[in-house]
């Protein structure tokens, strides 16, 4: 089945349980798929764009209302949609950071946060995670003091991951923000793995900015995301254009330079909007997701030699495991080497593990049904038994 020259129809999620760590939260809802069908044409949301000609003012479809709802839902004062969380990082870094400014990141920060700082001319100051791979307020305080000694001034911005991409651990954004604010450092909470997955309250976290990813965690097409902020900070990051043409004298209304004007003008935004009601509902049932993760994680831990490297018990369904002492021992002598594991998973209807990985790897159980969680749990144990590993 092809959907164009050389483009096979993608059926991963129809044929398999997909545990790819970055794909689980971005799977579309039925309503988002329907919106994709209806709004696939380029500038499809612009049919009723009227003055002042800005995306977040469009009333039909209800894009203006969606922006207000997004801000309210995150308990922030203002929100804009952006083409992915990274563009939110970029807008904030470009607003707050000047050449040579120190900026707080963490030893678990995503590379796009580093790139946003680099592009703005800033210098990275990483807060080290502790032995349990958690970033704490105490470590943040020490890193700020180190930066002050080294650069003669406090960092100008802090990027703190609510849940990091490496371990899926939950970090103390609230505690870190409290420390950062004592030094007048604004805090960006990177909610790429939390906004749309579990409840996020920006004010409760004391965040100056909350960034979320539509395609990672809000059941939306890529690239999509949200940047929300406080009434104080919106004047800075959502400032409007002041430039005019020296020849024509043209001005550009109330376009926002950090967003390059309008952002998501078609299918990405409509997919995000179509999923929004479902996303708002699903975060209220996050406990069910942890219960499904527990079914799978406990089955993995029943295989002798397997370790969970993420904090345990799990507080998020993205989980990092070490199977050096179990599946990797099989790979040492198996004729398919490490590919026996990913191959066996696919044969049993499971997709999303890096082919060949048998040592340290990640999976995400988000969005699966309990029946699917039990299937996945059974598959791991079955593969282990078939290859002579001990089960307790």
């Amino acid at each position: 089945m092809r959907c164009g020259s050389g483009i096979e129809a993608r059926q991963v999620d129809e044929l398999f349980i997909n545990i790819d760590p970055i794909q689980a939260g971005g799977r579309l809802t039925a309503d988002a798929m329907k919106a994709v069908i209806a709004y696939g044409d380029g500038y499809s949301v612009c049919d009723n764009c009227r003055k002042p000609n800005r995306l977040d003012y469009i009333a039909k479809p209800p894009i203006a209302e969606f922006h207000k709802d997004l801000a309210t839902w995150l308990n922030m004062d203002s929100a804009r949609v952006v083409p992915g969380a990274r563009r939110g990082f970029q807008a904030v870094a470009h607003t707050c950071v000047k050449k040579g400014d120190p900026v707080l990141l963490t030893s678990l920060s995503h590379y796009t946060e580093f790139l946003a700082v680099e592009e703005a001319g800033g210098v990275a100051c990483e807060i080290p995670a502790n032995d349990g791979h958690i970033v704490t307020a105490d470590a943040a305080a020490a890193t700020i003091e180190n930066a002050k000694r080294r650069y003669g001034r406090a960092p100008v911005l802090a990027f703190i991951d609510h849940v990091d991409y490496q371990y899926g651990n939950v970090h103390d954004v609230q505690g870190i923000a409290k420390v950062a604010h004592q030094y007048d450092i604004p805090v960006l909470c990177n909610g790429a793995y939390t906004v749309g997955i579990m409840p996020v309250d920006g004010k409760d976290l004391s965040a100056d900015f909350v960034v979320g990813s539509g395609h990672k965690s809000m059941a939306a097409p890529a690239p999509s995301g949200v940047l929300a902020t406080t009434a104080e900070r919106e004047k800075e990051v959502f400032r409007t254009t002041t430039i005019s043409g020296d020849l024509t004298g043209r001005k550009f209304g109330i376009k926002e330079p950090e967003l390059m004007g309008c952002t998501l003008m078609g299918v990405t935004l409509m997919g995000m909007m179509a999923s929004f009601l479902h996303v708002k509902e699903r975060v209220k049932h996050f406990e069910n997701e942890l219960a499904n993760n527990r079914i799978v994680t406990e089955s993995l831990l029943s295989i002798h030699g397997t370790k969970v490297l993420s904090e345990y018990p799990r507080k998020h369904p993205l989980t990092r495991v070490d199977t050096t002492g179990s599946f990797d021992t099989v790979a040492q002598t198996h004729k398919k080497r490490g590919f026996f594991f990913s191959g066996s998973l696919v044969e049993n209807g499971v997709h999303g593990i890096i082919p060949g990985a048998t040592r340290i790897w990640k999976f995400n159980t988000y969005g699966m049904t309990t029946v699917q969680a039990h299937h996945l749990a059974k598959v791991f144990v079955t593969i282990a038994e078939e290859n002579g590993l001990k089960i307790s």
Binding site: E14, A30, M33, K34, I37, N348, V371
Partner: protein
Amino acid sequence: MVFAAMYSLTDLRVLLRETAPSHEMDAGQRGEAQRLLENLERQVGSLKQEMLK
């Protein structure tokens, strides 16, 4: 009518996702699949009448 048919197919697609990889359905899912397929047949029938008349 085209959208209605595609949306019925979309709901069937989601059902396939929810039941992957075995696609074994419980009674509720089977009933939903039947309802969607009957809708789809009606919608395709209407399309035939409208487009080929």
